[in-house]
């Protein structure tokens, strides 16, 4: 009797999971595994009759292109500067919003809505703001006397990377602010009271109570965010499409470029594998470093 019931439960579990498993493995893992194979083939949309194996040629072509150094540098800048600024501003905003005030709900709606926009549309919005001739950013900077002539934010390779990062910071602050605000509100108020009795000022409280308490959230959100920003070509695609002259390509926009404009899936997959390798290295290193840090604390 008992065995029968167990079986029924097992059947229930199996049937409930079946659609999910079929979808995820059939349409995510299967294409990815096939895609890894494609990286070692001559696989171009324009000549699908000749998809022979060509060893590491796709990797060689991709990494030896003149742009590749810039792309790696851009990817590093894109991830690190965006992350640091999003985190610092987001944390600051969350700290200021920790105590409830009148209208906080409405305020949240006005400052966190960027979360609901697509990266592509944000790219378009900022493309308009940063317009070199009639862009409002130029107009404001001129009015404030900070510049004397208009800057070609998106047409000058010196400024283009800076501009896409500004847009990305604008987008991502909300993520950190939301996550950290939730974490801050979970800190028990007794801890602050105790720290106050011990004579800790607001900075001391921040350092000795708040930050240690929400450390797990900080670690998980920053790790997730690094991976997410790394895999986020949408904004750059909408804003500059990697231009001018390839100066704002990161690895994932470069990959997209290979797919959409060159139709070279072999090279695109090779870039994808490089991306996965970098992310695996990062995740391993990050988990190791944060664990080591924790071990030192306690």
């Amino acid at each position: 009797m008992k065995l029968f019931r167990l079986n029924r439960t097992q059947t229930f579990i199996f049937l409930c999971l079946l659609p999910t498993i079929l979808l995820v493995f059939g349409f995510t893992y299967y294409p990815i595994v096939k895609g890894i194979d494609v990286a070692f083939r001559n696989y171009s949309l324009f000549n699908l009759s000749d998809v022979r194996y060509i060893g590491m040629d796709n990797f060689k072509t991709v990494t030896s292109s003149a742009q590749f150094g810039t792309i790696l540098k851009n990817t590093a800048l894109w991830v690190s500067i965006s992350l640091v600024l999003q985190f610092v501003i987001g944390f600051g905003v969350a700290l200021l919003m920790r105590r409830s005030f009148r209208g906080r709900g409405v305020y949240q709606g006005f400052v966190f809505y960027s979360w609901a926009l697509s990266g592509f549309l944000i790219g378009i919005i900022w493309r308009w703001l940063f317009n070199g001739q009639i862009g409002v950013v130029n107009d404001l900077l001129l009015k404030m006397g900070l510049i004397s002539e208009r800057i070609g934010f998106l047409s000058d390779p010196k400024w283009a990377m800076f501009s896409v990062i500004v847009a990305n910071v604008w987008y991502g602050v909300a993520f950190f602010a939301i996550m950290l605000l939730a974490a801050l509100q979970s800190v028990p108020s007794e801890l602050y009271e105790a720290a106050e009795i011990d004579g800790a000022g607001s900075f001391g409280q921040l350092r000795h109570v708040t930050i240690p308490y929400i450390m797990p959230t900080i670690i998980s959100t920053t790790a997730l965010r690094v991976i997410w920003i790394f895999n986020f070509p949408d904004l750059i695609y909408g804003m500059t499409n990697g231009g001018p002259a390839g100066s704002t390509h990161i690895l994932t926009t470069y990959m997209l470029d290979k797919i959409v404009f060159s139709g070279d899936y072999g090279q695109a997959s090779a870039i994808g594998i490089i991306c996965i390798a970098i992310l695996v290295l990062f995740t391993t290193f990050y988990l190791f470093a944060t664990r080591a840090g924790k071990a030192g604390d306690f």
Binding site: T9, F12, I13, L15, C16, L17, P19, T20, L23, V24, T28, Y29, Y30, P31, K34, V38, I89, V93, L96, M97, Q108, F110, V111, Y113, S114, W115, A116, L117, S118, G119, F120, L121, I124, I125, R127, W128, L129, N131, I134, V136, V173, I178, M179, A182, S220, T221, I227, N231, D234, Y237, T252, M255, L256, V260, A268, S269, G272, I276, L279, T283
Partner: protein, 278 residues
């Protein structure tokens, strides 16, 4: 002395939060203002921070030069249907993964997490072939299928978190009263979870509404295009017409921003609880 510091602190706080508010609101404000300017005023200096005359010609134009109503309808239909399917599928998987622990359940969760980290473009060549073989290219079904696929892992994780907060004793009581497990799930648990389920639905809807790259890959026919695909063809033209572009952007953005504003409390709760507690 202390009181004066407190006042200074409060003033500083208001100023900083005010600056952040302007920083966040201004880009969208500027897009809306641009879309409401008469077409010739957009390109004349000095820039008007408030239109001299409000005009809807950009909105009229966007419907005139493109099948914008078709794109809107397609986006709405695909986003709603895919989000509904996602819920049907993930309520089951999220529930099972919240209530039972079995051999492989940990690995399965891991497999779901990992899908969120891989650049999915790697699979595009294969997906294209699969869609072509299934005869789904240029059909809305291709996007409904792929949007469901894309959201299933994350929504499973999200709903699992909501289920874990509801005591199992509730459905056990219903099962003693003669409900099947599935009946208990749909009659007892799902109604209690409505806020979480709505948050997941809205999250899924917004993701679908915003998706661009799969839509570019699989759809190349006017009558099946979604909004982002249409926007993409507007900006890849040599000269962007910022008048109609701004109107199109505002129309694309408004539904998701309004949805977010209405339900932000639930969404924020749904998205944060896993990260904060896990």
């Amino acid at each position: 002395m202390k009181k004066r510091f407190a006042k200074l602190g409060l003033a500083g706080k208001i100023v900083v939060l005010g600056i952040y508010l302007v920083f966040m609101v201004f880009p969208l404000y500027w897009m809306i203002i641009t879309s409401l300017k008469p077409r010739n005023e957009i390109f004349t200096l000095p820039l008007q921070y408030w239109p001299k005359k409000i005009s809807f010609e950009n909105y009229v134009q966007i419907f005139k030069i493109s099948k914008f109503h078709v794109y809107l309808g397609n986006s709405l239909f695909i986003s709603l249907v895919a989000a509904a399917i996602v819920l049907l599928v993930t309520i089951l998987s999220g529930y099972v993964l919240a209530r039972f622990s079995f051999r492989g359940s940990g690995q399965l969760m891991m497999a779901f997490f990992v899908t969120q980290m891989i650049p999915l473009f790697i699979g595009f060549s294969t997906l294209y072939m699969m869609m072509s073989k299934m005869g789904l290219l240029n059909k809305q079904a291709s996007l409904i299928l792929m949007y469901t696929v894309g959201l299933v892992p994350f929504c499973t994780i999200m709903l699992r978190g909501f289920f874990q907060r509801i005591p199992a004793s509730l459905e056990e009581a219903a099962m003693i009263d003669g409900c099947s497990r599935l009946g208990a799930l749909y009659r007892v648990i799902v109604p209690i979870m409505m806020p979480g389920i709505s948050a997941t639905f809205i999250f899924a809807f917004v993701q679908n509404w915003n998706e661009l790259f799969m839509a570019i890959m699989f759809i190349d026919r006017e009558s099946s295009k979604t909004l982002p695909v249409a926007m993409n063809s507007f900006i890849t033209k040599f000269d962007i017409d910022w008048g109609s572009m701004s109107a199109a952007t505002v129309l694309s953005v408004v539904p998701t921003v309004v949805l977010f504003a209405i339900c932000q409390r639930f969404i924020v709760e749904g998205l944060t609880q896993g990260a904060v507690k896990g």
